[in-house]
Amino acid sequence: MSICLSGNEAVAYAMKQINPDVMGAFPITPSTEIPEYFAQYVANGEVNTEYVTVESEHSSMSVCIAAEAAGARSVSATSSCGLALMYEMLYVAASNRLPITLACVNRALSGPININNDHSDSMGARDAGWIQIYAENNQEAYDNFIMAMPVGENVRLPVMSCMDGFITSHAVENIELLETDAVRAFVGEYKPENFLLKKENPLAVGPYDISAYYMEHKVQQAEAMKAAKTRILEVAAEFEKLSGRQYGLFEEYQMEDAELAVVLIGSSAGTAKAAVNELREKGVKAGIIKVRVFRPFPGEELAKVLAKTKAVAVMDKSEGFSANGGPLFAETRSALYDLRERPYLIDIVYGLGGRDLKTEDVEKIFARLAEVASTGKTGDVYSHMGQRRRGQDESGL
């Protein structure tokens, strides 16, 4: 069924089709519409979900943790400072191995306070032990959310299903919806082996872990995250049979013969693809890698694809303040280290707090890559794009 929906409504609709047991609900721009739409489904009796309104995101995540431990499939949605307020509980969810599904509508994290899109919120939580899957558009936001539970519940890790605030969450696009029966069959029932309400054997969740055990439990989490990679691909293959839509750890666009490549995350991929189309017409061998799964990071797979290129620009939509490049750059550069022959690599931090990215900007990046490839000189490896500078144009290049 084809229908016009905003990204938020698409995710709320996916939630309705899944019919989770519990939603921990607290509003924050730009994710507010998700619990808002979902409240209507609850009020209309279209779902059986226990809709728990709370006083903060720390509590909405706590509700999900308690419910999931009790044996109930739980969801929530948040953005920016909301995700930051969940910070402690994100770690609790992951370390207690509770496969909660969270819709993260990416927004700049204060300060200065700003409601527009970048990835600083979820990138700040990248080491919390959550699987992170990013959508380019409304269709992917819908599809990723439906694939999240079969992934997370299998490896016992929580999943953050991310989309770009406003750009994706509020823009209305035509998307394909699956039949509700098909979604329910695909997602299945949540059947954990042990849960608090299983009366046959009382369960203790989240006990104090002394030094003699903590390290072992962290290794278990790390192994689960490694296993998640295979599971994500299995679920994607099943999803393709159902929907006809293909998903991997990342998407390769015009990469078969690409000499110059841009690696990025989220909605900017649409802009970058348009730029690549224009450059290809001019004979430039340009390609795009859109990273869909950031946790677990597909390092080996990415290195294999980028090994064939001459110069690569990683585009970070968050500032890690490492003074050494953004988080996507750090991961990508680390992944390329094991290659015998490596492409030149630069990092461009862009789009912070909703700063727009235009096709011309991407073309300028490819022009710089062409120069790097031909001269062998990278110039500033780590730079910012789109900010005003004295005496220079705003491409910052």
């Binding site: 370390s95 207690n96 191995r97 509770l98 016992r156 042990n194 054997n201 009382p202 369960l203 203790a204 969740v205 989240g206 006990p207 872990d209 003699a212 055990y213 390290m215 072992e216 439990h217 290794v219 278990q220």
Partner: protein, 102 residues
């Protein structure tokens, strides 16, 4: 499903439960946490009227009761917090300095 008594500080990570979850109740009974104590309560049996006020106040359920009478402390679980001394109306408990062997 592995039981708490079968887990110890030599168990490899592969055999531990996810997130350290425990599949049975009351496992605190099996662990000697009395070693944390730095002060120790002394039960003065002759002063005790068995009013039972100390029993529900003990945060560690370390005061055993049998046939309506309180017994000496369960030093495997007593942390030496001294709450029992404060609530006892008959001065039948005193604190002494020092842990386990005090």
């Amino acid at each position: 499903m592995i039981k708490a008594k079968d887990i110890n500080e030599k168990t490899p990570w592969e055999d531990l439960t996810p997130g350290g979850e425990i599949y049975e109740p009351g496992t605190a009974r099996d662990f000697n946490t009395g070693t944390w104590r730095t002060d120790t309560p002394v039960f003065i049996a002759e002063a005790c009227k068995h009013c039972m006020l100390c029993v529900p106040f003990c945060p560690d359920s370390a005061i055993p009761v049998k046939d309506g009478k309180r017994l000496d402390f369960d030093f495997m679980h007593c942390k030496g917090c001294g709450i029992c001394v404060t609530v006892c109306p008959f001065a039948a408990i005193k604190m002494v300095s020092g842990g386990e062997g005090a």
